[in-house]
Each structure stands twice: as C-alpha cells, then as structure tokens.
C-alpha cells in the first residue's frame, strides 16, 4: 500500500484536506446570470466521507465541478476559496490544475458510458491517465498498472477485459472501470457525482462496497453527491444539504438524518416511502417546485415551499436570509432556518402526522 501522507500536498497546518470557503459560482446565460452556488463553505478530512444531498439545480454538481476545476474558466464567475491540501485552487493556472486533477483530486461521473471514450480500449484509457501523471513510466508499466487497477475494482479476467471497449462492459463494470481510472494515481480526494444513480440496486450495493473498501485501503477523502437519502445514510460521515445553491443544513449523518433541523431536509425525509412504514399512509410531498436560480426568491430560498413560515413571527422568512448557524443541539449541527427551535417544531409535526 502506498503511504498517502508523506507528500508535498501534506497541509502545513491542521487544516482539513479540502476546505471550501464562501464559494460562489455564477454563469452568464442568455436569460441572465445564473447564481448556481452562493456562499458555500464546507470541509472534508482525510478518510472521511461527506455526502452532499440536493435536488437537480441545487448546485451540488456545480460546486464539485469547481473544486475539480472542470468548469469553463472563461465563462464562469467563481469567487471564494477552495484549498486542497493547502493549495488554493481558484486562480490556479490550467497547467498546474492539470497536475493536481487526477493526481490529488479525481472524479467519478454518473454516466460511465458517456464518460469513457467509445473508441479506445478500456485498458488504454486507464493507462493514459497513469502516464499523464507519471511521465517517466513506460507504456508497459502503465498497462500493467491498468490491469492491476481493473483487478482491484473486481473486474474478472482483467488482462483480457482491459482489451475490451467500453460498450462491451456491463453498466456495473463500466462504473468499476471509471472508479479504477479515478483511483489509478492514488488521489487523496475523490468526488463521486451520483456514481450509482444509473445502476440497479444489487450492482449499486457492490459499487458502494467497493468505494468503502477502497477508502479504507487508501485513506482518501470522498465527497459523495447524490439525491438518494438512503445511499447517503449508509455511506456518509457528514451530510451537507443544499437548496437553491446554498447550504441549508450541515451535520453528522446521524444528526441530520434522524433529527433534521431544516424544514427542507425534514420534507425530503418525510416525502420518501420507507420500507417499514405503513403503506396506507399518504406521502407528504414538498409542495411547489425547486426555485429558479435566475431569480432566486428573497429571504430564505425555501420559504415559498415551506410549511412552517407561519411559525416564524412576521414576514422574516420572505425578507431575510437566515444564517447558517448551530442550533440548540450542539455546535456541529448547522442549519439555515428562522424557526426558534426547528428540531422541536419538526419533531412535533412528524408526530402529528403519525397520529
């Protein structure tokens, strides 16, 4: 096993490996400026998994693309700070970014068929990723490394399968190949953007197992982006809930999932059918639709869909954006809500539903 710590990227201070601070991402479009991400801050430590939950358009993918440096630099307005192992990424030259990307930070995409090149053999694509960051390595070494990685992610007969094209792989195998490609340079930070959404549950379970095994072996940090709360519950140490381009709740997985303090998180948890719930009860949907990021609502971004605005005095929710602050439960659990004691209000509402 390679030692993941003794390296140039070892942070000088005790700072977590990934620090995102007040990140704002805007895209100019024909209809106006899209405020995809506003004032987002989070940290991830080595060996930990952060789950980012949110609906489409909540900014979860855009924020991760910014960290990996995959946005269109000419057209995207980015401000704030992203530090990976102490290196500031924003404003980094494309050349240095390329050295970092793949080597320190890697990404697994949702659609493996689209992310792999259809004309090149799987083994060659993996070897290419290795050669890009190991210019001294011979082609033969790179190929051996590719086969070894395919073996590591559980592809049977890896030396033969390395000569296959992506279309000859099944969906689960393609996703494994992509994980192998992301991990071939032992990155310390892995972004997994909906890595199992397109897969069947049994294959999804295999891939999640694989990611956890690899994390144990390599000690890497993982940012896991998904809309599936069940996957988050099983994979994440910490959870960040995003809505309308902002973080609305952050805390340990257990705290957020069992005692949500933000009506949106609560609504998400209440709206999904559970395997043990009484099938006769009606689902409680969140009314309305996610906000437009061209014209985000004033005040709290969730207020047009929130059931609890009545419990807040005056029109505070419409007027003022609540801060992301710790609740009564402790310092580690942040929420963005005007409710005095959201945990209690939400728990009461849940109880009322059950009666």
């Amino acid at each position: 096993m390679s030692s993941p710590v003794e390296d140039i990227t070892r942070p000088a201070s005790d700072e977590p490996f990934l620090v995102v601070d007040d990140l704002t991402v805007k895209f100019p479009t024909a209809d106006g400026l899209v405020q995809a991400v506003t004032g987002l801050s989070y940290t991830v430590e080595m060996g930990k998994t952060l789950g980012i939950v949110g609906e489409s358009g909540s900014g979860k993918s855009v924020s991760s693309m910014a960290v990996v440096g995959l946005h269109d630099a000419k057209r995207t307005h980015i401000s704030g700070s992203i530090r990976v192992g102490g290196t500031e990424i924003i404003g980094l030259s494309e050349q240095r970014m390329r050295r970092l990307r793949g080597n320190e930070v890697a990404m697994i995409f949702q659609d493996a068929l689209a992310a792999l090149h259809p004309f090149y053999r799987v083994g060659n694509q993996l070897a290419e990723a290795y050669l890009a960051h190991h210019p001294d390595a011979s082609k033969r070494d790179a190929n051996d490394k590719a086969v070894a990685m395919l073996d590591r992610v559980g592809i049977p007969q890896p030396d033969q399968r390395a000569r296959d094209y992506p279309h000859q792989f099944s969906g689960g195998m393609r996703q494994r190949a992509m994980i192998a490609m992301a991990l071939i340079n032992d990155p310390k930070l892995l972004f997994a953007d909906e890595p199992t959404t397109a897969l069947d549950v049994t294959v999804q379970a295999q891939i999640l197992d694989l990611l956890q095994d690899l994390q144990r072996d390599f000690g890497s940090a993982i940012v896991f982006i998904t809309h599936d709360l069940g996957v988050i519950a099983e994979m994440a140490d910490d959870v960040l809930v995003m809505y309308g381009g902002r973080a609305v709740e952050f805390g340990t997985c257990k705290a957020v999932m069992s005692k949500p303090q933000m009506p949106y998180t609560w609504g998400l948890l209440e709206s999904i059918p559970e395997l043990e719930s009484d099938p006769g009860t009606r689902l409680l949907p969140i009314p309305g639709t996610p906000p437009s990021l061209l014209h985000p609502p004033t005040g709290c971004p969730f207020h047009p869909r929130c059931r609890f605005t009545g419990d807040v005095p005056g029109d505070l929710c419409e007027r003022e954006l609540p801060d992301l602050v710790p609740g009564v439960e402790g310092a580690g659990h942040l929420r963005r809500c005007h409710l005095r004691n959201p945990a209690e209000t939400l728990a009461n509402a849940a109880e009322k539903r059950e009666v």
């Binding site: 609906e55 489409s56 049977p156 099944s170 969906g171 689960g172 195998m173 069947d200 549950v201 049994t202 294959v203 999804q204 379970a205 295999q206 999640l208 197992d209 956890q212 809309h227 599936d228 709360l229 069940g230 996957v231 988050i232 519950a233 099983e234 994979m235 997985c253 257990k254 957020v256 999932m257 069992s258 609504g267 998400l268 948890l269 709206s271 999904i272 059918p273 559970e274 395997l275 043990e276 719930s277 099938p279 009606r282 689902l283 409680l284 949907p285 969140i286 009314p287 639709t289 996610p290 869909r305």
Partner: protein, 377 residues
C-alpha cells in the same frame, strides 16, 4: 387458473360499450398467460440470418383485478418494460395470451386492436422525451380524444382543460408547449394524456424515477388519487422497491424474463422466499441506517445479470445464487404456491428470509476469504 378459451367472445361484446361496463363480474380485468416476447438477433452482413433470440419475456403469467395495482420490479434487462409494452401492443407478443375483460388481445391486428387501445394506456418514464416538443399541451392531451372520437370536436378543449385541472395543472395553460413546464408538471401532462380515454388499465413504466425526490411524492399521491377515483387498474413498473411497496398491494419480481416471485405486499416484503427477492430487498439503502451508522447487513450478489440471449439452463438465477445445486442447472423450478394463497415462488430451495441471510453471509465470507488469499499470493 386458465379459463376456457371460448370466453373471449362474451368478453368482446361487453367491453365495446365503454364507460359503463367497468364491472368484470368477479373475473380479473387482465389475465396474462405464458406471455413470451423474443427479439431476433440477426447476423451482420447482407443476408442477416437470425442467429439467436433475446428472450426478453419468457412465459410470464399474472392477473390484475379491476382498480388494483400490481407492481413489477426487477433489475434493468429483466423484461419488465418489455412486458408493459407488449401489453399495450407496442410490441407484438411472440406467443401467449393476454385477456382484457375476457378478450385476448394477443392475436388482434392493429385495426382490430383499435377499440381496445383506449382501455389500455401508458405513462412513460421520461417526461422529457415522451411529449412532442412541437405540440401544445392541448394538442398532446387532446389527441387521444380526437383519435377515438370520444367527445365531439367542439368539446375537446373543455375536456382537455378538465383533465389538466384533474392532474393539478392550470387549465389555462393548454396553449403552452412542454418546454415551459418542469419535470414534475410534464409527468402530470403525460398522466392527463393517459387518463383522457378513461382507461381500465394503465401501464406506468417508471413514472417517477426521472423526477426529483421532493416531486416524486406529489406524483405518487396524484396517481393514487386518480386510481381510486376512476378505479383504474395499474401495472406499476419500477425498480424502486420502496415506491412499489407504497403503491402496490400486489408485487411481482422478475429476473431475466421470468417472474420468480409474486404475492401480496406482505408476502414479498416481509416473507420473501426466493433468494433473488431477498437479495434485492437487502440491497436497498435504508434511510433509517443513519441512526446505526455504517452499511446494512445484506446479501452480496456476485456479478451481473447474464445475457438474455443465452440464459443459464434450469433456474436462470443459479449463476448468482448462493443456494445453487445441481438440480438448479438441470431443472427449471416451477412457480408454485408457498405459504399463503397467491404467494408463488420459483425456487427449488425456497425458504423464508432469516436462514437465507445466514447462508448468504456464510457463502460470501467463504468467497471473500478465498479471494483475499488468492490476492495475497
């Protein structure tokens, strides 16, 4: 279970006068018997000989009662979507029968099929590709009304508006195009279109899987309300087992073109007997797990679903099954009743959940130990 073949003539006469004849005198609304759909695989080159068949659906039988919903679950490639499409005759069945109110739809020509089309309607998975972007919502929802002339031309628009209101859309929006609506709203348009002809049976093929989590519940509630109000039978095809459990009192589990287990909600979710159903259920990530931390204990299935062109002999699940023995390769297990009435499973070694977990864990532990020792060398 198989009713006499002659019943079809009687069925035809009752089902032609639509609307009032929703009663099915105790018989199921839809009876599917040994339904088979093979797709030919042709060789490359000029002659294009048929070199094999994709056995997408291979001998599926089930019944759906009036106003009832049956869930069809399974992994991609198991034939659940093909089953739905054959039932709407978007695909011609290779063999087998599918009786709607006693009339076998399988042998009917496109022309003969016409009067029955309005009884079976479909809701598609992807609301972005299933609506014509160049037609207004009014045209989309109104087309079935015009084609089947169920209302006079002058009444089409008011009826369309009525339908839009029914599915929770603004009736004034009939003049808009699909791109002006969000995903959830588009799915509502698709539902309004399916509802336009007051079908007896709706085939809902993954109706919520393309939608955001917060929108899914809205659409599921809508479908539930409509089903109750109009007593529509629904064949609910989905891969999300929690959603199916919520929506369907009866569930069928498919694997490689065959139903491996079928029964009521209780039997499938709390008392599954087929190892595949058990594995499928154990693989669902559970929100409640957050309180415990870590992953849920579950059955590890090795590998992928085999190719339906050349499925395994005997039991099709045996290549991934931890219980597989010699008999599984030679003899195909029949779908037989186990325990409660209506709970059928196709497995030589069908047994309830707990012992299965135990066996599976043992098998995977052994396999893992074997793999790590092989890897270490």
């Amino acid at each position: 279970m198989t009713p006499p073949e002659t019943a079809s003539d009687v069925g035809t006469s009752t089902s032609t006068d639509s609307g009032s004849s929703w009663t099915s005198n105790g018989k199921p609304l839809l009876e599917v018997q040994d339904l088979v759909k093979y797709f030919p695989v042709k060789s490359a080159g000029l002659i294009r000989r048929v070199v094999g068949h994709v056995q997408a659906v291979d001998g599926v039988s089930f019944t759906v009662n009036k106003g009832e919903s049956l869930g069809l679950v399974g992994e991609s490639g198991c034939g659940k979507t093909t089953t739905g499409r054959v039932l709407t005759k978007l695909y011609e069945p290779t063999s087998g029968s599918m009786k709607l109110d006693g009339t076998d739809l399988a042998p009917l020509s496109a022309k003969q099929m016409m009067p029955f089309r309005k009884d079976v309607q479909m809701i598609f998975q992807d609301p972005y590709t299933s609506l014509n972007p160049r037609h207004t919502v009014g045209a989309i929802v109104g087309t079935p009304l015009r084609v089947h002339s169920v209302v006079p031309r002058s009444k089409v628009l008011p009826r369309v508006q009525e339908l839009l209101e029914l599915v929770g859309l603004n009736p004034e929006h009939y003049n808009r195009y699909p791109n002006e609506f969000s995903g959830g709203q588009r799915q509502r348009i698709g539902i309004a279109r399916a509802l336009a002809l007051q079908p007896k049976l709706m085939i809902a093929d993954e109706p919520v899987s393309a939608l955001d989590v917060s929108i899914q519940a809205q659409v599921i509630n809508l479908l539930e309300d409509l089903q109750k109000e109009f007593e529509i039978a629904v064949l609910f095809i989905a891969h999300d087992l929690a959603v199916v459990r919520h929506f369907c009192p009866k569930v069928a589990v498919m694997y490689l073109g065959k139903i491996v287990e079928i029964g009521d909600r209780e039997s499938i979710y709390s008392n599954a007997h087929h190892p595949y159903t058990q594995a499928l259920l154990s693989a669902i990530p559970d929100v409640k797990q957050a309180q415990v931390g870590g992953r849920r204990e579950r059955i590890h299935l090795e590998g992928d679903v085999p190719s339906p062109i050349n499925p395994p002999s005997g039991c099709r699940f045996r290549t991934r099954c931890w219980k597989a023995q010699e008999i599984c390769a030679t003899q195909e297990p029949p779908l037989v009743q186990i325990g409660k009435e209506g709970h059928l499973a196709a497995c030589h070694f069908a047994e309830p959940y707990d012992s299965a977990i135990h066996d599976a864990a043992k098998a995977t532990r052994a396999a893992a130990a074997h793999a790590s020792s092989a890897g270490a060398s």
